[in-house]
Protein backbone atom coordinates (compact mmCIF):
# COMPACT_ATOMS: atom_id res chain seq x y z
CA UNK A 1 0.00 0.00 0.00
CA UNK A 2 1.53 3.26 -1.12
CA UNK A 3 2.23 5.71 1.66
CA UNK A 4 1.04 9.29 1.74
CA UNK A 5 3.63 11.97 2.40
CA UNK A 6 2.98 15.60 3.15
CA UNK A 7 5.80 18.12 2.93
CA UNK A 8 5.13 21.35 4.81
CA UNK A 9 4.74 23.07 8.13
CA UNK A 10 1.77 22.76 10.52
CA UNK A 11 1.95 26.54 10.91
CA UNK A 12 1.42 27.11 7.19
CA UNK A 13 -2.28 27.68 6.51
CA UNK A 14 -2.11 25.74 3.26
CA UNK A 15 -0.34 22.78 4.91
CA UNK A 16 -2.85 22.84 7.79
CA UNK A 17 -5.68 22.59 5.26
CA UNK A 18 -4.26 19.31 3.96
CA UNK A 19 -3.43 17.93 7.43
CA UNK A 20 -6.96 18.64 8.66
CA UNK A 21 -8.38 16.74 5.68
CA UNK A 22 -6.14 13.71 6.29
CA UNK A 23 -7.20 13.65 9.96
CA UNK A 24 -10.89 13.97 9.04
CA UNK A 25 -10.52 11.03 6.66
CA UNK A 26 -8.54 9.03 9.27
CA UNK A 27 -5.85 8.33 6.70
CA UNK A 28 -2.28 7.44 7.73
CA UNK A 29 0.42 9.76 6.44
CA UNK A 30 4.05 10.66 6.91
CA UNK A 31 4.75 14.32 7.65
CA UNK A 32 8.02 15.71 6.29
CA UNK A 33 8.71 19.07 7.95
CA UNK A 34 10.02 21.85 5.71
CA UNK A 35 12.13 24.48 7.47
CA UNK A 36 10.52 27.62 6.12
CA UNK A 37 12.51 29.94 8.35
CA UNK A 38 15.65 28.60 6.68
CA UNK A 39 14.03 29.08 3.26
CA UNK A 40 14.09 25.35 2.56
CA UNK A 41 10.98 25.63 0.35
CA UNK A 42 12.80 27.95 -2.06
CA UNK A 43 15.80 25.68 -2.49
CA UNK A 44 16.52 23.58 -5.57
CA UNK A 45 15.92 20.35 -3.64
CA UNK A 46 12.34 21.34 -2.83
CA UNK A 47 11.37 22.62 -6.28
CA UNK A 48 10.86 19.07 -7.58
CA UNK A 49 8.11 18.77 -4.95
CA UNK A 50 6.52 22.13 -5.69
CA UNK A 51 8.00 24.11 -8.59
CA UNK A 52 6.49 27.33 -7.21
CA UNK A 53 8.54 26.96 -4.03
CA UNK A 54 5.48 26.81 -1.78
CA UNK A 55 4.16 24.39 0.82
CA UNK A 56 2.55 21.94 0.98
CA UNK A 57 3.76 19.23 -1.37
CA UNK A 58 1.99 15.86 -1.44
CA UNK A 59 2.89 12.37 -2.59
CA UNK A 60 0.74 9.26 -2.83
CA UNK A 61 2.72 6.52 -4.53
CA UNK A 62 3.55 7.86 -7.98
CA UNK A 63 1.09 10.73 -7.75
CA UNK A 64 2.65 14.05 -6.83
CA UNK A 65 0.46 17.06 -6.16
CA UNK A 66 0.71 20.62 -4.93
CA UNK A 67 -1.89 23.39 -4.28
CA UNK A 68 -3.70 22.59 -1.02
CA UNK A 69 -7.23 22.78 -2.45
CA UNK A 70 -6.41 20.28 -5.21
CA UNK A 71 -4.88 17.96 -2.61
CA UNK A 72 -7.83 18.15 -0.21
CA UNK A 73 -10.23 17.34 -3.04
CA UNK A 74 -8.14 14.38 -4.13
CA UNK A 75 -7.99 12.99 -0.57
CA UNK A 76 -11.72 13.55 -0.04
CA UNK A 77 -12.53 11.67 -3.26
CA UNK A 78 -9.90 8.94 -3.02
CA UNK A 79 -11.09 8.05 0.49
CA UNK A 80 -14.77 8.81 -0.06
CA UNK A 81 -15.86 5.82 2.01
CA UNK A 82 -13.57 6.50 4.96
CA UNK A 83 -13.89 8.91 7.87
CA UNK A 84 -15.97 12.09 7.54
CA UNK A 85 -17.86 12.66 4.29
CA UNK A 86 -16.33 15.87 3.01
CA UNK A 87 -18.12 16.02 -0.33
CA UNK A 88 -21.79 15.32 -0.74
CA UNK A 89 -24.92 15.34 -2.82
CA UNK A 90 -26.01 15.17 -6.41
CA UNK A 91 -24.41 17.19 -9.18
CA UNK A 92 -26.38 20.35 -8.34
CA UNK A 93 -25.52 20.17 -4.63
CA UNK A 94 -21.88 19.56 -5.58
CA UNK A 95 -22.04 22.63 -7.81
CA UNK A 96 -23.29 24.79 -4.95
CA UNK A 97 -20.51 23.43 -2.77
CA UNK A 98 -18.19 24.32 -5.67
CA UNK A 99 -19.44 27.91 -5.54
CA UNK A 100 -18.58 28.23 -1.83
CA UNK A 101 -15.17 26.62 -2.36
CA UNK A 102 -14.46 29.41 -4.83
CA UNK A 103 -15.86 31.98 -2.39
CA UNK A 104 -13.37 30.80 0.25
CA UNK A 105 -10.55 30.91 -2.27
CA UNK A 106 -11.34 34.27 -3.89
CA UNK A 107 -13.35 36.31 -1.37
CA UNK A 108 -12.24 35.11 2.06
CA UNK A 109 -8.69 33.85 1.67
CA UNK A 110 -6.97 36.85 0.04
CA UNK A 111 -8.29 39.19 2.71
CA UNK A 112 -7.90 36.89 5.71
CA UNK A 113 -4.41 35.83 4.62
CA UNK A 114 -3.25 39.45 4.57
CA UNK A 115 -4.70 40.00 8.04
CA UNK A 116 -3.12 36.78 9.33
CA UNK A 117 0.24 37.92 7.96
CA UNK A 118 -0.02 41.41 9.50
CA UNK A 119 -1.54 40.52 12.87
CA UNK A 120 -0.44 36.96 13.66
CA UNK A 121 2.77 36.28 11.79
CA UNK A 122 4.71 39.55 11.53
CA UNK A 123 4.75 40.13 15.31
CA UNK A 124 6.27 36.66 15.82
CA UNK A 125 9.13 37.64 13.50
CA UNK A 126 9.56 41.05 15.12
CA UNK A 127 8.23 42.85 12.02
CA UNK A 128 6.00 45.93 12.23
CA UNK A 129 2.28 45.56 11.46
CA UNK A 130 1.06 47.83 8.64
CA UNK A 131 -2.00 49.49 10.13
CA UNK A 132 -3.26 50.76 6.77
CA UNK A 133 -3.29 47.24 5.33
CA UNK A 134 -5.09 45.96 8.41
CA UNK A 135 -7.74 48.68 8.20
CA UNK A 136 -8.34 48.14 4.49
CA UNK A 137 -8.63 44.35 4.77
CA UNK A 138 -10.68 44.45 7.95
CA UNK A 139 -13.29 46.51 6.09
CA UNK A 140 -13.27 44.05 3.20
CA UNK A 141 -13.53 41.05 5.52
CA UNK A 142 -16.51 42.64 7.30
CA UNK A 143 -18.37 42.79 3.96
CA UNK A 144 -17.54 39.17 3.17
CA UNK A 145 -18.67 38.08 6.63
CA UNK A 146 -21.99 39.88 6.12
CA UNK A 147 -22.61 37.59 3.16
CA UNK A 148 -21.55 34.59 5.28
CA UNK A 149 -23.92 35.66 8.08
CA UNK A 150 -26.77 35.72 5.60
CA UNK A 151 -25.81 32.36 4.14
CA UNK A 152 -25.39 30.67 7.54
CA UNK A 153 -28.84 31.88 8.60
CA UNK A 154 -30.19 29.63 5.85
CA UNK A 155 -27.71 26.75 5.86
CA UNK A 156 -26.04 25.02 8.79
CA UNK A 157 -22.69 24.96 7.01
CA UNK A 158 -21.50 27.08 4.12
CA UNK A 159 -21.78 24.51 1.32
CA UNK A 160 -24.77 22.50 2.51
CA UNK A 161 -26.35 21.09 5.67
CA UNK A 162 -23.27 19.07 6.65
CA UNK A 163 -19.60 19.87 7.26
CA UNK A 164 -17.60 19.70 4.04
CA UNK A 165 -14.26 20.80 2.58
CA UNK A 166 -15.77 24.27 2.17
CA UNK A 167 -15.88 24.83 5.92
CA UNK A 168 -12.59 23.00 6.49
CA UNK A 169 -10.70 25.25 4.06
CA UNK A 170 -11.47 28.23 6.33
CA UNK A 171 -10.05 26.71 9.51
CA UNK A 172 -6.39 27.69 9.28
CA UNK A 173 -6.98 31.43 8.75
CA UNK A 174 -9.89 31.56 11.21
CA UNK A 175 -7.68 29.91 13.80
CA UNK A 176 -5.05 32.63 13.50
CA UNK A 177 -7.53 35.49 13.34
CA UNK A 178 -9.45 34.39 16.44
CA UNK A 179 -6.30 35.22 18.37
CA UNK A 180 -6.27 38.82 17.07
CA UNK A 181 -8.46 41.96 17.15
CA UNK A 182 -10.33 40.45 14.15
CA UNK A 183 -12.14 38.14 16.59
CA UNK A 184 -14.70 40.90 17.12
CA UNK A 185 -15.82 40.67 13.48
CA UNK A 186 -16.70 37.01 14.03
CA UNK A 187 -18.21 37.44 17.51
CA UNK A 188 -20.55 40.21 16.40
CA UNK A 189 -22.22 37.94 13.81
CA UNK A 190 -24.24 35.25 15.62
CA UNK A 191 -24.46 32.69 12.80
CA UNK A 192 -20.81 33.11 11.83
CA UNK A 193 -19.84 32.86 15.48
CA UNK A 194 -21.82 29.66 16.02
CA UNK A 195 -20.38 28.15 12.84
CA UNK A 196 -16.83 28.96 13.95
CA UNK A 197 -17.43 27.47 17.42
CA UNK A 198 -18.68 24.31 15.73
CA UNK A 199 -15.95 23.80 13.14
CA UNK A 200 -13.03 24.72 15.41
CA UNK A 201 -14.18 22.15 17.98
CA UNK A 202 -13.78 19.24 15.58
CA UNK A 203 -11.34 16.57 16.86
CA UNK A 204 -9.49 16.46 13.52
CA UNK A 205 -8.70 20.19 13.83
CA UNK A 206 -7.45 19.70 17.39
CA UNK A 207 -4.97 17.18 16.00
CA UNK A 208 -3.56 19.82 13.64
CA UNK A 209 -3.25 22.26 16.56
CA UNK A 210 -1.46 19.55 18.56
CA UNK A 211 1.07 19.27 15.70
CA UNK A 212 1.68 23.01 15.97
CA UNK A 213 2.34 22.69 19.69
CA UNK A 214 4.87 19.92 19.10
CA UNK A 215 7.07 22.14 16.88
Amino acid sequence: MAAIRVHGSPFSTASARVLATLYEKEVEFEFVPVDMRAGEHKKESFLSINPFGQVPGFEHGDLKLFESRAITKYVANEYAEKGTHLVCGDSKKKAIIGVWMEVEAHQFDPVSSKLTWELAVKPVYGMATDKAVVEENEAKLAKVLDVYESRLAKSKYLGCESFTLVDLHHLPNINYLMGTEIKKLFDSRPHVSAWIADITARPAWSKVLAMQKQQ
Partner: protein, 216 residues
Protein backbone atom coordinates in the same frame (compact mmCIF):
# COMPACT_ATOMS: atom_id res chain seq x y z
CA UNK B 1 -33.73 26.49 -22.91
CA UNK B 2 -30.43 28.36 -23.25
CA UNK B 3 -28.26 29.02 -20.22
CA UNK B 4 -28.41 32.65 -19.15
CA UNK B 5 -24.99 34.13 -18.43
CA UNK B 6 -25.18 37.41 -16.50
CA UNK B 7 -22.03 39.38 -17.23
CA UNK B 8 -20.20 41.24 -19.96
CA UNK B 9 -18.30 40.20 -23.06
CA UNK B 10 -15.28 42.13 -21.80
CA UNK B 11 -15.06 40.58 -18.35
CA UNK B 12 -12.34 37.93 -18.11
CA UNK B 13 -14.39 35.83 -15.72
CA UNK B 14 -17.45 35.94 -17.96
CA UNK B 15 -15.20 34.90 -20.86
CA UNK B 16 -13.98 31.91 -18.87
CA UNK B 17 -17.57 30.67 -18.61
CA UNK B 18 -18.41 31.40 -22.25
CA UNK B 19 -15.26 29.60 -23.46
CA UNK B 20 -16.33 26.48 -21.58
CA UNK B 21 -19.92 26.59 -22.85
CA UNK B 22 -18.67 27.06 -26.42
CA UNK B 23 -16.26 24.10 -26.09
CA UNK B 24 -19.10 21.92 -24.85
CA UNK B 25 -21.58 23.16 -27.46
CA UNK B 26 -24.03 24.40 -24.81
CA UNK B 27 -26.44 27.15 -25.89
CA UNK B 28 -26.29 30.36 -23.92
CA UNK B 29 -27.42 33.97 -23.96
CA UNK B 30 -25.41 36.75 -22.37
CA UNK B 31 -27.55 39.05 -20.25
CA UNK B 32 -25.53 42.23 -20.19
CA UNK B 33 -24.78 43.68 -16.74
CA UNK B 34 -23.76 47.33 -17.00
CA UNK B 35 -20.60 47.49 -14.88
CA UNK B 36 -20.08 51.14 -15.88
CA UNK B 37 -23.14 52.20 -13.89
CA UNK B 38 -22.50 49.71 -11.09
CA UNK B 39 -25.44 47.49 -11.96
CA UNK B 40 -23.64 44.55 -10.31
CA UNK B 41 -23.79 46.27 -6.93
CA UNK B 42 -27.54 46.87 -7.02
CA UNK B 43 -29.93 44.91 -4.75
CA UNK B 44 -31.59 43.19 -7.74
CA UNK B 45 -28.26 41.77 -8.80
CA UNK B 46 -26.98 41.00 -5.31
CA UNK B 47 -29.68 38.35 -4.91
CA UNK B 48 -28.01 36.62 -7.84
CA UNK B 49 -24.41 37.17 -6.72
CA UNK B 50 -24.09 38.49 -3.15
CA UNK B 51 -20.50 39.70 -3.65
CA UNK B 52 -21.62 42.03 -6.46
CA UNK B 53 -19.48 40.50 -9.21
CA UNK B 54 -19.97 38.96 -12.64
CA UNK B 55 -20.58 36.35 -13.93
CA UNK B 56 -23.57 34.48 -12.58
CA UNK B 57 -25.60 31.87 -14.45
CA UNK B 58 -29.17 30.70 -14.43
CA UNK B 59 -30.05 27.39 -16.04
CA UNK B 60 -33.69 26.39 -15.92
CA UNK B 61 -33.99 27.85 -12.43
CA UNK B 62 -30.60 26.58 -11.17
CA UNK B 63 -28.28 29.44 -10.19
CA UNK B 64 -24.51 29.52 -9.74
CA UNK B 65 -21.72 32.10 -9.50
CA UNK B 66 -17.87 32.07 -9.33
CA UNK B 67 -16.61 31.36 -12.86
CA UNK B 68 -14.41 28.41 -11.89
CA UNK B 69 -17.32 26.69 -10.09
CA UNK B 70 -19.49 27.28 -13.15
CA UNK B 71 -16.99 25.80 -15.62
CA UNK B 72 -16.44 22.78 -13.36
CA UNK B 73 -20.20 22.20 -13.23
CA UNK B 74 -20.66 22.35 -16.99
CA UNK B 75 -17.53 20.31 -17.72
CA UNK B 76 -19.00 17.62 -15.44
CA UNK B 77 -22.62 17.93 -16.57
CA UNK B 78 -21.67 17.58 -20.23
CA UNK B 79 -18.79 15.21 -19.71
CA UNK B 80 -19.84 13.06 -22.65
CA UNK B 81 -20.40 15.98 -25.00
CA UNK B 82 -17.55 17.77 -26.77
CA UNK B 83 -13.94 17.53 -25.54
CA UNK B 84 -13.29 16.01 -22.09
CA UNK B 85 -12.12 19.02 -20.11
CA UNK B 86 -11.68 17.20 -16.79
CA UNK B 87 -9.49 14.13 -17.20
CA UNK B 88 -10.55 10.50 -16.80
CA UNK B 89 -9.10 8.86 -13.69
CA UNK B 90 -9.19 10.41 -10.22
CA UNK B 91 -5.45 11.05 -10.52
CA UNK B 92 -5.82 12.86 -13.86
CA UNK B 93 -8.61 14.99 -12.41
CA UNK B 94 -6.45 15.84 -9.40
CA UNK B 95 -3.71 17.11 -11.71
CA UNK B 96 -6.27 19.20 -13.64
CA UNK B 97 -7.42 20.60 -10.27
CA UNK B 98 -3.84 21.33 -9.33
CA UNK B 99 -3.25 23.50 -12.40
CA UNK B 100 -6.64 25.18 -12.01
CA UNK B 101 -5.52 26.11 -8.51
CA UNK B 102 -2.21 27.35 -9.92
CA UNK B 103 -4.14 29.63 -12.30
CA UNK B 104 -6.35 30.85 -9.48
CA UNK B 105 -3.64 31.43 -6.86
CA UNK B 106 -0.29 31.90 -8.61
CA UNK B 107 -1.31 33.48 -11.89
CA UNK B 108 -4.65 35.29 -11.68
CA UNK B 109 -3.94 37.88 -8.98
CA UNK B 110 -0.79 39.05 -10.73
CA UNK B 111 -2.56 39.43 -14.08
CA UNK B 112 -5.58 41.07 -12.47
CA UNK B 113 -3.46 43.63 -10.59
CA UNK B 114 -1.30 44.35 -13.61
CA UNK B 115 -4.29 44.88 -15.93
CA UNK B 116 -6.03 46.99 -13.29
CA UNK B 117 -3.04 49.33 -12.96
CA UNK B 118 -2.06 49.56 -16.63
CA UNK B 119 -5.40 49.35 -18.42
CA UNK B 120 -8.52 49.71 -16.29
CA UNK B 121 -7.63 52.61 -13.98
CA UNK B 122 -6.27 54.79 -16.78
CA UNK B 123 -9.45 54.04 -18.77
CA UNK B 124 -11.40 55.41 -15.83
CA UNK B 125 -9.23 58.51 -15.81
CA UNK B 126 -7.31 57.45 -12.68
CA UNK B 127 -3.54 57.02 -12.34
CA UNK B 128 -2.25 53.44 -12.30
CA UNK B 129 0.50 52.35 -9.91
CA UNK B 130 3.35 51.65 -12.33
CA UNK B 131 5.69 50.35 -9.63
CA UNK B 132 3.08 47.83 -8.55
CA UNK B 133 2.50 46.81 -12.17
CA UNK B 134 6.22 46.30 -12.62
CA UNK B 135 6.42 44.12 -9.49
CA UNK B 136 3.58 42.00 -10.87
CA UNK B 137 5.37 41.70 -14.18
CA UNK B 138 8.53 40.47 -12.47
CA UNK B 139 6.59 37.92 -10.44
CA UNK B 140 4.77 36.76 -13.57
CA UNK B 141 8.13 36.17 -15.25
CA UNK B 142 8.99 33.73 -12.46
CA UNK B 143 5.61 32.02 -12.61
CA UNK B 144 5.83 31.63 -16.39
CA UNK B 145 9.31 30.14 -16.02
CA UNK B 146 7.63 27.34 -14.07
CA UNK B 147 5.03 26.98 -16.85
CA UNK B 148 7.84 26.87 -19.42
CA UNK B 149 9.43 23.96 -17.56
CA UNK B 150 6.12 22.18 -17.13
CA UNK B 151 5.23 22.55 -20.82
CA UNK B 152 8.56 21.04 -21.83
CA UNK B 153 7.28 17.79 -20.30
CA UNK B 154 3.63 17.82 -21.35
CA UNK B 155 1.72 19.32 -24.22
CA UNK B 156 -0.86 20.95 -22.00
CA UNK B 157 -0.69 21.97 -18.36
CA UNK B 158 -2.35 18.91 -16.87
CA UNK B 159 -1.10 16.36 -19.41
CA UNK B 160 -1.45 15.53 -23.06
CA UNK B 161 -4.96 16.79 -23.61
CA UNK B 162 -6.59 20.22 -23.39
CA UNK B 163 -8.48 20.69 -20.14
CA UNK B 164 -10.15 23.34 -17.95
CA UNK B 165 -6.68 24.12 -16.58
CA UNK B 166 -5.60 25.51 -19.97
CA UNK B 167 -9.00 27.07 -20.76
CA UNK B 168 -8.99 28.99 -17.50
CA UNK B 169 -5.92 30.94 -18.64
CA UNK B 170 -7.30 32.15 -21.96
CA UNK B 171 -8.98 35.41 -20.90
CA UNK B 172 -6.13 36.58 -18.65
CA UNK B 173 -3.38 35.86 -21.17
CA UNK B 174 -5.33 37.60 -23.92
CA UNK B 175 -5.55 40.75 -21.77
CA UNK B 176 -1.85 40.50 -20.92
CA UNK B 177 -0.83 40.26 -24.55
CA UNK B 178 -3.18 42.88 -25.94
CA UNK B 179 -4.32 45.75 -23.75
CA UNK B 180 -1.50 45.33 -21.18
CA UNK B 181 1.15 45.04 -23.93
CA UNK B 182 3.01 42.23 -22.17
CA UNK B 183 3.36 39.98 -25.23
CA UNK B 184 7.00 39.38 -24.41
CA UNK B 185 6.05 37.31 -21.36
CA UNK B 186 4.67 34.67 -23.72
CA UNK B 187 6.81 35.12 -26.85
CA UNK B 188 10.11 34.89 -24.95
CA UNK B 189 9.26 31.35 -23.78
CA UNK B 190 9.18 28.73 -26.54
CA UNK B 191 6.95 26.20 -24.82
CA UNK B 192 4.58 28.78 -23.35
CA UNK B 193 4.41 30.40 -26.78
CA UNK B 194 3.57 27.13 -28.58
CA UNK B 195 0.99 26.32 -25.93
CA UNK B 196 -0.60 29.78 -26.27
CA UNK B 197 -0.68 29.49 -30.07
CA UNK B 198 -2.39 26.12 -29.73
CA UNK B 199 -5.03 27.01 -27.15
CA UNK B 200 -5.84 30.42 -28.60
CA UNK B 201 -6.48 28.97 -32.05
CA UNK B 202 -9.17 26.57 -30.84
CA UNK B 203 -12.45 27.22 -32.69
CA UNK B 204 -14.38 27.82 -29.44
CA UNK B 205 -11.99 30.61 -28.40
CA UNK B 206 -12.04 32.16 -31.86
CA UNK B 207 -15.84 32.08 -31.77
CA UNK B 208 -15.78 33.88 -28.43
CA UNK B 209 -13.55 36.62 -29.82
CA UNK B 210 -15.95 37.11 -32.73
CA UNK B 211 -18.91 37.38 -30.37
CA UNK B 212 -17.01 39.80 -28.14
CA UNK B 213 -15.92 41.97 -31.08
CA UNK B 214 -19.51 42.30 -32.21
CA UNK B 215 -20.41 43.75 -28.82
CA UNK B 216 -17.42 46.05 -28.24
Amino acid sequence: MAVKVYGTMRSACTQRVMACLLEKGVDFDVVHVDLGVGEQKRPEFLVRQPFGQVPAIEDDGFQLYESRAIVRYYATKYEDQGPNLLGNTLEERAVVDQWLEVEAHNFNDLVYTLVLQLVVLPMMGKPGDLALAHTCEQKLEKVLDVYEQRLSKSRYLAGDTYTLADLSHLPGIRYLMNEAQMEHLVRERNNVNSWWEDISSRPAWKKLLTLAAARF
